[in-house]
Subunit: 202 residues, 2 copies
């Protein structure tokens, strides 16, 4: 594999562990001469395949996860709130990201961080399309053009393809990273990716 190959970062904007990972994945990639490809998906579709459900809806595991998320955020210094509306549908945010990635690629990083930080850092409900458009505007993206794009069949197809590709890549949760065909699931695998890229794998 070329050292310039990207790290595929599969995520749902409603995943708090993906949010935490979004704060460090680019620095990690850069240390190894890699870039990050943001791949927003809809975990709801994925969970149908795996007969799974959102963390917070699982007894005991949900409570632990909230505790662990807050603890991890404190250790890493990433601002983190559990949003009032959580989990949420993220179709608009995902479609917006894919449209920007396809048409204004140099603004993708900014949009991903702005959407994630709005939701988990500032309790802004990004299931609301109006909020997605407003946030996109702050990233220098034409909100009117984006609004029109969100209803386009081509953009809907982009997201469907991204979800299908994710399932084909074995993605069942978020964050899910693929580096040189090697899969890594979970925020806690970031240091493993670091060691994997440092050593060339084992």
């Amino acid at each position: 594999m070329s050292a310039s190959a990207t790290i595929d970062f599969y995520f749902d904007y409603s995943s708090p562990y993906a949010y935490l990972a979004s704060h460090t994945i680019e620095a990690l990639a850069q240390q190894h001469g890699r870039t990050v490809t943001w791949r927003p998906i809809l975990l709801g579709f994925v969970f149908k395949t795996t007969d799974s459900k959102p963390l917070v809806h699982i007894p005991l595991k949900g409570d632990y996860s909230m505790h662990d998320l807050k603890r991890t955020a404190r250790e890493t210094g990433v601002p983190f709130v559990i949003p009032d509306n959580f989990p949420i549908g993220t179709v608009a945010a995902a479609r917006a990201t894919l449209w920007v990635r396809a048409n204004h690629a140099n603004k993708t990083d900014a949009l991903v961080h702005a959407l994630f930080n709005a939701y988990f850092g500032n309790n802004t409900d990004i299931s609301d399309t109006a909020n997605v458009l407003q946030i996109a505007g702050t990233c220098g993206i034409d909100a009117s053009a984006l609004e029109q794009a969100l209803g386009d069949n081509d953009v809907k197809a982009l997201l469907k393809t991204e979800v299908d590709n994710a399932l084909n890549a074995g993605v069942f949760g978020a964050p899910f990273m693929v580096v040189d065909n090697e899969p890594f699931w979970g925020h806690d695998r970031l240091p493993v990716i670091d060691r994997w890229l440092s050593t060339g794998g084992w």
Copy 2:
């Protein structure tokens, strides 16, 4: 909390991530002046509460987990095979461990490692009571006395109590560690425990 407080290590002998963690948890505890209390439970009962199921029975996640387990074992140098019979019922192994812990405490460490290593290191089916007894014998435990104990109502009650205590402590998977009332789930949280004990928490 006293610095001599133990680390509660909840596990099912059928959990491969708990097996991997069993190889390092004692050294981690010792570094911080702690000991390990082995708490064998039955994840089957726990999964009923959380409407969950064994990793290998979950589409995509099962395949990934097998890959990740082998990768983790290679990195840490722990011998690891996926046993022919997996997952298994571990009632006999769990009861044996609790009886030994209650009556021959100084042999508990040896028994836990011998059972885990037989199963995940050597593909020995420890759902078979005869194998549990044979392995206990290699640890200097009286196999006849243990065989009798496995049918005792008192020993059955020990396991029921241990599972109930685990659920009350919020345990939903394995390995699950509790240190000074702080819960940590998963093999990947071992370095977090290390930092938690080094810093006094955050």
